[in-house]
């Protein structure tokens, strides 16, 4: 495998591993928890390092995962005092834990090969240099195996607890009544996010992990109504962004993780604009359509009110619509065209008449 291919493979694995738990965070309105966790795991990594003196020890992952859970518990503890709001408690907890981590690193700068730049920003380009060697055989970059195992863990967790996760996400109350502890699922998910964030941090850094976790699921959220599709779409979007981001970084000679995050942003913008039902354009179309439909119905009701009466000559005159409904000429033309196309009204000269169908329609809208 060439280093280039390896980097792309690692990027794809990281993106997919992050997107899976991200789906549940987005649905459970806890997206910012990923930001909090990804920052405060720094403290866990540093503390675990002091114990093991080895930056590649699996204990680091454990330490970081524990700090992740600690963050979540502290936030909940603060919430429960009801002295501060939920988002405020997130904003109070993670900067403190992160600061303690940074202070510890600086105090022991001599004996920790860990600097804040590396933790915050990460560097994917270095990943292929750290090889996993078993029985004197080089079997590939270490981070590929680390992230691969984490991805596997995420997939297994979601497959086994799919039903429970789904229920606890969409109807916490029912889940509790049926005997699934929402707390176990909650903390399980949070541990998963912590482990994923630890695995991803030296590849992409703790801030961009958030983009990997939140970005693809948020885009997928606008494209589907089904949880299983959302999971699938998120992984696809994550993978596409990872590969395209790598090539963007390659051509511009810039940070790979940053480029992937930018691609995630671009993907989201595309979805935001063009998503079939929920995109801005679809939304604007929908609104225009509704406006016209409503206006046509209003015109039908107006005609129904006055037809056959002495004032019909005046009220049902095309030119009267401006005085009565404040419609501009363009809009009147559009509405009349729409009404005639649907065979609800016809015009003779400038006078407007309901058709049979139009009268029925108008009567129906009066009732409902």
């Amino acid at each position: 495998m060439s280093p280039q291919f390896e980097i792309q493979l690692i990027a794809v694995v990281v993106a997919v591993a992050c997107a899976l738990p991200g789906v549940f965070l987005v649905l459970r309105r806890m997206a910012m928890m990923s930001d909090a966790i990804s920052h405060s795991i720094l403290l866990g990594i540093v503390l675990a390092f002091f114990v093991t003196k080895d930056l590649t020890s699996p204990l680091l992952v454990l330490g970081a995962a524990l700090t992740g859970v600690l963050t979540v518990s502290l936030v909940e503890l603060l919430n429960r005092t009801r002295l501060v709001q939920e988002d405020t408690s997130i904003g109070l907890v993670f900067p403190l834990l992160f600061s303690i981590g940074v202070i510890l690193i600086s105090r022991h700068a001599g004996d920790v090969h860990l600097d804040t730049d590396a933790v915050l920003l990460g560097e994917l380009a270095f990943a292929p240099f750290d090889r996993l060697i078993i029985f004197n055989t080089d079997i590939g970059p270490k981070s590929l195996y680390v992230m691969g195992s984490i991805l596997l863990l995420n997939i297994i967790f979601i497959l086994i607890l799919y039903k429970e996760l789904k229920l606890a996400t969409f109807d916490k109350g029912l889940a509790a009544v049926l005997g699934f502890s929402p707390w176990i699922i909650h903390y399980g998910l949070m541990s998963l996010v912590s482990i994923t964030a630890v695995g991803a941090f030296d590849a992409v850094g703790s801030i961009l992990v958030v983009a990997f976790i939140i970005g693809p699921p948020v885009s997928a959220y606008l494209l589907t109504e089904k949880l299983s599709f959302m999971l699938l779409l998120s992984t696809i979007i994550g993978a596409i962004a990872a590969v395209s981001g790598y090539w963007m970084a390659h051509f511009l000679d810039t940070s790979i993780a940053g480029s992937i995050a930018s691609m995630i942003g671009i993907t989201f913008s595309m979805v935001y604009l063009f998503a079939p039902d929920k995109g801005l354009i679809a939304l604007a179309r929908h609104r225009t359509k509704q406006r016209i439909e409503f206006a046509v119905e209003m015109l039908l009701v107006h005609l129904l009110n006055h037809e056959g009466l002495p004032e019909a000559e005046r009220e049902c005159h095309r030119n009267h619509l401006y005085d009565h409904l404040h419609w501009e000429e363009d809009f009147i033309r559009k509405i009349l065209k729409n009404g005639e196309k649907k065979m609800w009204l016809r015009s003779e000269g400038d006078l407007l008449y309901l058709t049979e169908k139009g009268r029925a329609m108008a009567q129906e809208s009066m009732i409902t």
Binding site: Q85, L120, I207, L280
Partner: protein, 376 residues
């Protein structure tokens, strides 16, 4: 201590850093109060991250590292990020937290792309741009602080001028709009002021920790008062205190970075406030609960004695403690309650160790029953 004071007055670097951190604390404390009250605590986090591409672009366009230019770029990018967040939450079903996280990380990622791009070009003066990432209070110059002070005075005067409007906007925007206030414009202005406060702090405490400077002083101040005016002042004082003490601490202890130290200081203020704030503090609430629980137990024993007296039709008759214990199953602590009642002279112990109400205790017990039992 006197040496520290001496340093503060005469040491150029320390004076500059302490002044900068103090000014930052005042400004972010004041505007943070509004952010916290308007449930925008994490907006600070998003804005500070979103500011990064603005800094890089401002440098790329002007090739200048003047604080004011970089701050303007940062403010513009931060504001655009904020606008995106509002736009996304207004037009889709995406919730506020997801929009915040998305914008924060994507803008930051884009900023990183620009920064690495700048580093690869051979601009002679690009060094030091990344100090905005983590903040480097020690690198503050007097003219940086001057820029900070001027901007702060500007923002704070706006706050005073539009005080009434901002207050209404924070607590009841609908009412404000029914009075004919331009709520949208005010919202725009207040958010803009918050953005400026945040980008001013980036140089000192950095992108990651700036959010703490917005949230923490305000959260601490909120515990002490129910009045907006007092809260803003307290919050500024806390912010300034944390800024200055953080700067002093990090200067007197080696290898103690300023930004994180400031955050630890302000977190300490929050902890003290949450525990000990008058009225709301957790310690006082806990003590009050204990006191109430004790009072209820005492009253339970008193009323038990009263009921016994009533059932036996005699106030003189005394009752052994085992009876009272049996009546108190579920709340216990009978011995202690009797001891307290005896101290109050509401009950007394007969020579055979059984208990009886005193006339004083009878009056108290009657109060508990509110005259509903009329036998005695």
């Amino acid at each position: 201590m006197s040496e520290l004071l001496n340093n503060l007055l005469f040491d150029y670097t320390l004076r500059t850093v302490a002044l900068g951190a103090g000014v930052l604390g005042i400004l972010s404390g004041a505007l943070g109060s509004f952010a916290v009250l308007r449930k925008q605590s994490l907006l600070g986090d998003a804005v500070s991250h979103a500011a990064l591409p603005g800094i890089a672009l401002a440098f790329l366009l002007t090739l200048s590292k003047a604080t004011l230019i970089l701050i303007l770029g940062a403010a513009l990018a931060g504001w655009i990020g904020t606008y995106f967040i509002f736009h996304i939450t207004r037009n889709t079903r995406i919730k506020n937290d997801s929009a915040l996280g998305l914008i924060l990380s994507v803008f930051f990622g884009f900023g990183l792309v620009l920064l690495t791009y700048i580093q690869k070009q051979s601009y002679s003066n690009q060094a030091g741009l990344d100090k905005f990432l983590f903040g480097q209070a020690a690198a503050l110059l007097q003219r940086d602080v001057l820029t900070m002070i001027i901007l702060s005075v500007l923002v704070l005067s706006l706050l005073v001028i539009f005080w009434k409007e901002f207050k209404l906007l924070s607590f009841n925007a609908d009412y404000g709009s029914s009075l004919g206030l331009p709520v949208k414009k005010l919202d725009f202005l207040l958010t803009g002021m918050l953005v400026i406060a945040i980008v001013i702090g980036l140089q000192t405490v950095g992108v990651v920790l700036m959010s703490a400077m917005v949230v923490a002083p305000a959260a601490a101040a909120r515990q002490w008062t129910e009045r907006l005016g007092l809260m803003v002042i307290l919050s500024s004082v806390f912010g300034a205190f944390a800024g200055i003490s953080g700067a002093l601490l990090s200067s007197s202890i080696s290898r103690l970075p300023t930004g994180p130290t400031i955050v630890v200081c302000i977190s300490f203020v929050v902890l003290v406030s949450v525990l000990f704030a008058s009225g709301r503090g957790l310690v006082w609430t806990w003590l009050r609960e204990q006191r109430n629980r004790h009072k209820i137990k005492i009253e339970a024993v008193l009323s038990d004695l009263y009921i016994l007296a009533e059932q036996h039709g005699s106030i003189e008759r005394s009752h052994p403690i085992s009876v009272l214990r049996a009546m108190s199953i579920g709340h216990g602590g009978v011995d202690r309650s009797l001891g307290d009642l005896k101290e109050k002279k509401w009950v007394e112990q007969k020579p055979d160790e059984s208990w009886v109400l005193t006339p004083l205790g009878l009056e108290e017990a009657k109060k508990l029953f509110d005259g509903k039992n009329k036998i005695l």
